[in-house]
C-alpha cells in the first residue's frame, strides 16, 4: 500500500522560528514535491526534487529551503517563519510520470 507520511498534522510556531516539515515515502519514487495550499489560490509548488541531493525551485520558493539527503525523505525548511507562511503544506511523490501520491498535509500556523 502506497504511503506518503508527513511528520505533523498541526504545527503552531512563532514568528522568526526555524521550522522543519518532514515528508517520508516508502515507494522508492525519485520525484518528490512540496506544495502549499491556500484558500482561493489552490496548490502552489514550493520546491521539488528529482533525486537525492537534487532540488529545484518551484513557483514560490522564497522563504523556504529543502533537503533531500535520502531518497525516501524530503524536508521543507522555513528558515525564519513569518505569518504569511501560515498555510496547509502538502508533500507528494510522482510515479511513472503520471501517478501522484499526496501526504495528508500539515497545517502550519505562524503567530
Amino acid at each position: 500500500d502506497v504511503k506518503v507520511t508527513q511528520s505533523s498534522r498541526y504545527l503552531v510556531k512563532r514568528t522568526g522560528e526555524k521550522v522543519f516539515l518532514e515528508c517520508v515515502q516508502d515507494m522508492d519514487h525519485e520525484n518528490m514535491f512540496w506544495y502549499r495550499q491556500d484558500p482561493g489560490l489552490g496548490l502552489r509548488l514550493i520546491y521539488f526534487s528529482y533525486d537525492v541531493k537534487m532540488k529545484e525551485k518551484g513557483d514560490i520558493p522564497e522563504g523556504y529551503s529543502v533537503s533531500r539527503e535520502k531518497k525516501e525523505r524530503f524536508s521543507l525548511i522555513l528558515e525564519s517563519a513569518s505569518t504569511n507562511q501560515t498555510s496547509m503544506y502538502l508533500c507528494a511523490t510522482l510515479a511513472g510520470g503520471t501517478e501522484q501520491y499526496f501526504g495528508p498535509g500539515t497545517r502550519l500556523t505562524v503567530t
Partner: protein
C-alpha cells in the same frame, strides 16, 4: 484503504470528443471536493464542490458532486489537445483539514 479513487486511470481521445472523469470517495467528515489539472509541475485549481447537485461550469469544463453516492464527475466537452493533462481529485475532511488525493486520470487528446 483508498479514500479517493479516480477512474479511468488513463484515457486517449480524439479532438472534439467529450470525456467524463470520475472520482469516488470514502471520507467520513466531508468538507469539499476539489478538481485540479496538472500539466507540468504544479496542479492548477479547477473547481471546488461542497453541495450536491449544483453544477459548476467553466468554459468547456463542468463538474458536479453527489454527496449521497459519494462521487463527482468532471466533464470536458469538445476536447482540444491543450486539455491533455493529469486531472486530480482531492477531498478535504472537516476534522483537521486533512486532504485525500486520488492518483489522477491521465488524459491524452490526439488531433
Amino acid at each position: 484503504e483508498d479514500k479517493v479513487v479516480q477512474s479511468p486511470l488513463s484515457l486517449v481521445v480524439h479532438e472534439g470528443d467529450t470525456v467524463t472523469l470520475n472520482c469516488s470517495y470514502e471520507v467520513t467528515n466531508f468538507r469539499s471536493l476539489l478538481w485540479y489539472k496538472q500539466e507540468k509541475k504544479a496542479p492548477t485549481f479547477l473547481f471546488m464542490l461542497t453541495s450536491s447537485g449544483i453544477e459548476k461550469k467553466s468554459g468547456r469544463l463542468s463538474s458536479i458532486l453527489d454527496k449521497k453516492e459519494l462521487f463527482s464527475i468532471l466533464n470536458i466537452t469538445a476536447t482540444q489537445t491543450g486539455d491533455s493533462a493529469i486531472y486530480l481529485c482531492a477531498v478535504e475532511e472537516n476534522t483537521g483539514n486533512q486532504f485525500y488525493f486520488g492518483t489522477g486520470t491521465s488524459l491524452t487528446v490526439i488531433p
